[in-house]
């Protein structure tokens, strides 16, 4: 599988480590009243769709960037690759 890195171009998937659902970017506020419930959802609940899925990948053997990869879990077709940093900043994160 080839991942089209937004900065580096096409790279073999074995340079990357797969982490999981991109919702891990949205870490809940640990001080909120319902923090326990939100952290339970954050840690354990996943949709696991058969089809398009947005996942976090880490370029471990490359530039050490975190990516959000939109992949079809049935065919492994990759539709989009974004820097996780850009995704987080678009959601209002400062870093």
């Amino acid at each position: 599988m080839i991942i089209n890195h937004p900065l580096l171009g096409p790279r073999d998937a074995n340079e990357f480590v797969h982490l999981g659902d991109e919702s891990l970017i949205d870490r809940p506020d640990g001080m909120a009243d319902d923090a326990a419930n939100k952290f339970h959802n954050y840690m354990y609940l996943r949709d696991n769709p058969a089809g398009k899925y947005r996942e976090l990948w880490y370029h471990d053997a490359g530039d050490r960037s975190w990516l959000v990869v939109t992949r079809d879990t049935l065919t492994h077709e990759i539709f989009d690759v974004e820097l996780a940093r850009d995704v987080a900043r678009a959601r209002g994160r400062s870093k």
Partner: protein, 184 residues
């Protein structure tokens, strides 16, 4: 008081295998420069003033005869400069105002591979497309060779610098040497 200096990881290794020349490069100092958030423009200006070089990109290094700059990841630059005892101290007066510096000289081993068939030897262990139309002069990539993290830089048509961790220098040399032997 005696002055101690470290040995290079491969002790100045040099060998010809068929038409391939392999040698360790150890006359450099390597300093990692981490750019604080939102100060890239300031850093680029200081780099220009200090080295007279533009900012490297994630796929292309910048070099003059003495210095080579690599962008190893977003907001991190490696500067490879002629060897000095304390590169952090030397750079702190200028670049130190715009980046967090770490002397990484002893953490890396640098091999130079050259010769007409160098690319053929590398093709066996490197996943990056090294065709000269794709991987041009001064192009760089962080990748793996035989599961070891590697930075590869093209310095001439058939010459490449290979950087890997000094802790696994001998394993890395073995991988490159073996590949050269297999095509010779």
């Amino acid at each position: 008081m005696a002055r101690l200096s470290s040995l290079s990881p491969l002790n100045g290794y040099q060998k010809s295998i068929g038409s391939i020349n392999l040698c360790e490069i150890n006359d450099y100092s390597l300093v990692s420069l981490a750019i604080p958030q939102d100060t890239t423009k300031k850093f680029a200006k200081i780099i220009k003033d200090e080295f007279d070089l533009a900012m490297p990109t994630s796929v292309m290094s910048k070099t003059d005869k003495k210095t080579r700059l690599l962008m190893t990841q977003p907001d991190q630059i490696f500067s490879i400069i002629p060897r000095v005892d304390n590169p952090e101290e030397d750079l702190s007066k200028t670049i130190g105002k715009a980046a967090y510096m770490t002397d990484q000289t002893d953490a890396w081993v640098v091999l130079e591979i050259s010769g007409a068939t160098s690319r053929t030897a590398l093709e066996r262990i490197c996943q990056v497309d090294l065709d000269s139309n794709m991987f041009k002069l001064n192009a760089m990539a962080r990748t793996t060779m035989e599961h070891m993290a590697t930075i590869i830089i093209r310095t001439d048509v058939n010459t490449f610098l290979l950087m890997s961790a000094s802790s696994s220098a001998k394993s890395f040399l073995h991988a490159v040497e073996l590949s050269a032997k297999h095509i010779s």
